[in-house]
């Protein structure tokens, strides 16, 4: 029994493996459902007519032609051939689709006519997402999405047996952290200059290379790169029974998988499969029977979630539209009622979708990164390795203010803005939560910050009556531009993280780890010049979060520019010691500064 199972778990062994056996059905099944949907939609009238019995079809309909010319059997035959070809193609594509996980990369080969080979380097993985669509869950399958930066660059392993997918995810993350740590070990770890600076931010005149101060370098989050395959030997309960179908994942060269499992255990395994399926739907989305499941630090409150959805932008707008329609209908324009119904229906649909998605939300931290789970029937759970979060935002719309609710969002390299509803949801880290919930989530997202400092900053940002000295404030003349929020427009920098806050209708506190910011901008137009003000923008990777400060004193803006631009280099160096410049380039640079003057400056 253990033999095939070991073969199934050791997916990260550098060998080529196939996908779950149900893959052609799951992939093709979706296409077949779509085709059936189109046919039904087209034949709807005909079916209605068939039952009501008014056979006056317009001529030229293909079905008409078939019926009239007695081609029914031929048509059915052609349909059968088409379906057979489809099944054949999907099966063939399953047969040629193989993946492997090596010490450097995850590789996927697919395609029959157009062969595609996709390789995701382990040190470039931005996150790993396990998606379990309802349809796939019925078959005990799940999709492993390896998130890589870039448009449409993700590597999807669809579909894998859901009982091995957790192990595979952990293996890949462990290998990836091993690769990262290996890189980090190549040169000495140097800590950046202590950039701590709160309200009285001073410009950083020189970057000292002292070892003192806080360092963003965390403990290397892996056990041992030498033995990366020390898998847990067996998993409890359900996995034993699952051995019977583990043959679906077999090493391609040696096909000995689970095919020769003892017959006596077949019935038992069948029962096991059944209980497995039930279990999968009963258990929470992100529970994994093997490693002690990390406890979610936040519990989603159904009432609060419903309230937050009722008070969110789209629902408010929709409600206003519906009210306007009812008013219109009551004043004699009865045709508006016809429009109200679908509007209410779609509003309800949106509400239910968002509610069910966020209801079983969970977030937890582990040494391999932050883990965020969503979804009721179709579930997804994503793990983001440390240092992959580019910006974090705590935001509060005006309507949530009386209740003290906040939302947490983030920018990562893997998800680009406005791709689809899933992409939107994945940048939402905490759909709604109290101040205390936010305080629990932030340590997972900003592990490099000192707990006390981070708590103080977040508390000052979120609680009106709290001590506000953590943040700088815009000068009072900024009230001409920001009449309501100038007092709460400011920044602070601590532990290599810049925290910016601003906003009236949406109060925002944005945290940007300096090691991952892209560039810094300060700007001044004529209006701000008259008021001795400027604006600052810490550019981060594209996403819902922007690090902008609309008003700031001119001199403070210059200070911020100096501190952040120096910090961006110092903290990035501390995180990537392997790429630190060595003495040779140091000397070269001095020489080049002169050449630059001759080369480009000479012409001016």
């Amino acid at each position: 029994m253990t033999q095939p199972y070991t073969a199934a778990t050791g997916l990260a062994d550098g060998e080529w493996h196939r996908m779950h056996k149900a893959t052609p059905l799951l992939r093709g099944g979706i296409a077949i459902i779509a085709i059936a949907g189109v046919i039904v939609a087209n034949l709807r009238e005909r079916i209605v007519n068939f039952f009501i019995g008014t056979p006056d079809y317009p001529s030229g309909d293909p079905v008409d032609v078939i019926v009239q010319h007695d081609f029914v059997w031929q048509a059915i035959g052609i349909a059968a051939v088409v379906i057979a070809v489809c099944v054949g193609v999907f099966t063939l594509s399953w047969r040629v689709q193989v993946f492997r996980v090596t010490h450097q990369a995850v590789e996927l080969k697919s395609g029959i006519l157009r062969r595609q080979e996709r390789k995701a380097r382990l040190d470039r993985i931005q996150g790993i997402n396990v998606q379990r669509p309802v349809f796939a869950r019925i078959f005990g399958a799940a999709k492993l999405e390896i998130v890589v930066a870039g448009h449409d660059a993700n590597l999807d392993l669809a579909y894998l047996p859901s009982n091995v997918i957790e192990t595979l995810r952990r293996e890949i993350l462990r290998l990836a952290s091993g690769v990262r740590a290996e890189e980090a070990r190549r040169s000495d770890t140097r800590s950046p200059s202590d950039m701590r600076s709160s309200s009285d931010a001073r410009p950083l005149s020189e970057r000292s290379e002292s070892m003192g101060g806080s360092t963003p370098e965390q403990a290397a989050p892996f056990d041992s790169p030498a033995v990366p395959f020390d898998l847990p030997a067996a998993r409890s309960g359900s996995t034993e029974a699952a051995a019977g179908r583990s043959g679906s994942i077999e090493a391609v060269p040696a096909r000995s998988g689970g095919g020769d499992a003892p017959k006596a255990s077949l019935r038992e395994s069948a029962r096991g499969i059944l209980s497995d399926r039930v279990e999968e739907f009963v258990l929470p989305a992100d529970l994994d029977p093997d490693a002690a499941p990390p406890e979610s630090v936040v519990r989603m409150h159904p009432g609060r979630l419903a309230g937050s959805l009722l008070l969110s932008g789209p629902t408010i707008v929709m409600f206003l539209i519906v009210i306007a329609m009812i008013v219109g209908a009551s004043t004699g324009r009865l045709w508006l009622i016809i429009i109200i119904f679908p509007t209410v229906l779609s509003l309800g649909g949106l509400f239910v979708r968002r509610f069910s998605k966020a209801l079983r939300y969970n977030i937890s931290g582990s040494d391999q990164g932050v883990r965020i789970g969503f979804g009721l029937l179709t579930t997804s759970s994503e793990t983001i390795p440390p240092r992959r979060i580019h910006a974090v935002e705590i935001v509060q719309p005006l309507a949530w203010r009386p209740f003290g609710w906040w939302q947490v969002r983030m920018d990562t390299a893997g998800h680009t803005r406005g791709r689809n509803s899933a992409g939107e949801a994945r940048t939402t880290t905490l759909p709604v939560g109290s101040v205390r919930d936010v305080q629990r989530v932030l340590p997972l997202l900003l592990p490099s910050m000192d707990d006390a400092i981070r708590d103080a900053i977040a508390h000052a940002g979120m609680v009106r009556r709290a001590d506000q000295s953590a943040f700088s404030s815009a000068p009072s003349r900024a009230r001409w531009l920001r009449p309501f929020s100038w007092r709460k427009t400011g920044y602070t920098i601590a532990d290599g993280v810049a925290a910016l806050r601003h906003g009236t209708l949406w109060r925002r506190i944005v945290f940007v780890p300096l090691a991952r910011m892209q560039s810094i901008e300060v700007a001044q137009g004529p209006l701000r010049r008259v008021l001795d003000l400027a604006s600052a923008d810490v550019h981060v990777i594209d996403g819902p979060v922007r690090g902008r400060l609309p008003v700031i004193d001119v001199r403070e803006a210059e200070e911020l520019f100096a501190i952040v631009s120096a910090g961006a280099i110092a903290w990035a160096d501390a995180e990537h010691p392997a790429t630190k410049r060595n003495d040779e380039t140091d000397g070269a640079r001095d020489g080049v500064a002169g050449t630059a003057e001759d080369g480009t400056g000479g012409d001016v």
Partner: protein, 165 residues
Amino acid sequence: MSQRLDVAGPDGTMQWHRVSPKYVVVVIVSSLISTLIAAAIAVFAWLVLAWWWAWIALIVIVAIGIAQLIIAPRRARAIGYVLRDDDLLMRRGIMFQRFVAVPYGRMQLLDIERGPVDRMLGLAELRFVTAAASSRVSVPGLVEADAAWLRDRLVELAESRRTGL
């Protein structure tokens, strides 16, 4: 009384590299073209569509065009860049000032672009692309040889300080 934004270096001064003086021509030509197009639309509206108020728009357009021509040399001079130890500093604009600092390690890609007027004058524009779309850093009006040299130099610097994503 109003204070201009100015990013000073560590020692209080900054040696900005200015772009080629020939770049003024590019600025003048582009502002002339945009003025001519806008003026043509206004004339069309005035004479053909007989919108009487279009001549006010025409006057405004011409006035803006003349103002642009007058400040063109200053606009060209306002563009500057500095190669600091670990990052590239860029400035632009007089009315709307903008300073950007991009660490070398964050550069993803460098582009050299040459428009038709640029080509006639032997100039090129160097664009820097980071992972953030809002960075928008570019140095126009470089002599072609300098642009190529600067690109190679920046690639080299970016290589030695690569931080990845």
